[in-house]
Symmetry: C2
Subunit: 192 residues, 2 copies
């Protein structure tokens, strides 16, 4: 009996990342991903528009969590404190599967120009979601854009540290992201 039984969507992501790792992104067909995940092709297409979208699965959910956390920050919070609240909320939604898959997803993206484009658009989308949430709080531009970029860099950097850390290191993603954000905040104040 499997230790855990992820839903079809998660199984599709895992199957896709496994296949991209084994045989490359270009050589992998949707039908193979579906077969490996034990679902039909039409189930695949209920979850993803194409194989590329599998690797940015969760972008909308992630954008939503970042924005919600920013919106829910206390009234007097500075832009960076609001971003911190967004990172906290988004980080808490990431689990062991995200952590395990991250290095292989990164390798697949690094090996494919097509995936790099999609990944770049994902970054732009996350930053835009945070920018909008900050503007909605009354943070003026360009502080809103800038704080959102800080948040994006902190999330990426925190995620990279989290997925690279030993599995017996109990530091959670949220902590890694906060440390990265604090480093960025200090760097921002010292840019000259």
């Amino acid at each position: 009996m499997a230790r855990w039984e992820p839903g079809a969507r998660e199984r599709l992501v895992i199957a896709a990342v496994d296949l991209f790792t084994e045989q490359g992104y270009d050589a992998t067909k949707v039908a193979e991903i579906a077969e490996r995940a034990g679902v039909t092709r039409s189930t695949f297409f209920r979850h993803f528009a194409d194989k590329r979208e599998v690797l940015v699965a969760g972008q909308e959910a992630l954008s939503g969590l970042l924005a919600e956390g920013i919106a829910a920050a206390p009234d007097g919070a500075s832009p960076v404190e609001a971003v911190s609240a967004g990172l906290e909320r988004a980080s808490n939604a990431m689990g062991p599967v995200n952590r395990e898959l991250a290095p292989r997803i990164q390798a697949a993206v690094a090996a494919s120009a097509e995936l790099q484009e999609r990944d770049a658009l994902k970054s732009v989308g996350l930053a835009a979601a945070m920018t909008t949430a900050l503007l909605d709080r009354g943070v003026p531009d360009p502080a809103a854009h800038l704080a959102a970029e800080l948040g994006l860099l902190a999330f990426k950097s925190g995620f990279a540290r989290w997925s690279a850390a030993n599995r017996d290191d109990p530091t959670e993603l949220a902590q890694h992201a906060q440390v990265a954000l604090e480093e960025l905040r200090a760097a921002a104040a010292a840019l000259g």
Copy 2:
């Protein structure tokens, strides 16, 4: 006699932007772009891999100018001062054609998911070029990443103001970019 006779590459960019504006990006074929520009299809393909690349023409040149300007900044320059030197060098390479085409390129990008991805990758590439140039100067991370993002935001914002300004406004792109950079620097220092 034409007032100026741009080379094939520039004619292809202008023809492509005209056609994308008139009939949309998806409906435009490479053969039409070549015909409008008065060149053969094979000349098109000597300059661009596909029609999408036309709209990010100059990305490599731009990355190179930003990096060169950063590298050539005086020894004691702060990260933001180095970025400022990069923006100065890149801005001075932009001319009236860039300014005229900008709003239509922006409209074409806004109307096409495919172009948005390519445009996002262009932004990532420009930031990466500046980050590398700053690291090469000995700027530590995350200050290097952050200063590069400031530079990217300043260049985009300066470019948008420049192309939106009245044509009798003598403010040059370099000035718009410096003003935007100064706003971002002040915002960075006040992020909280």
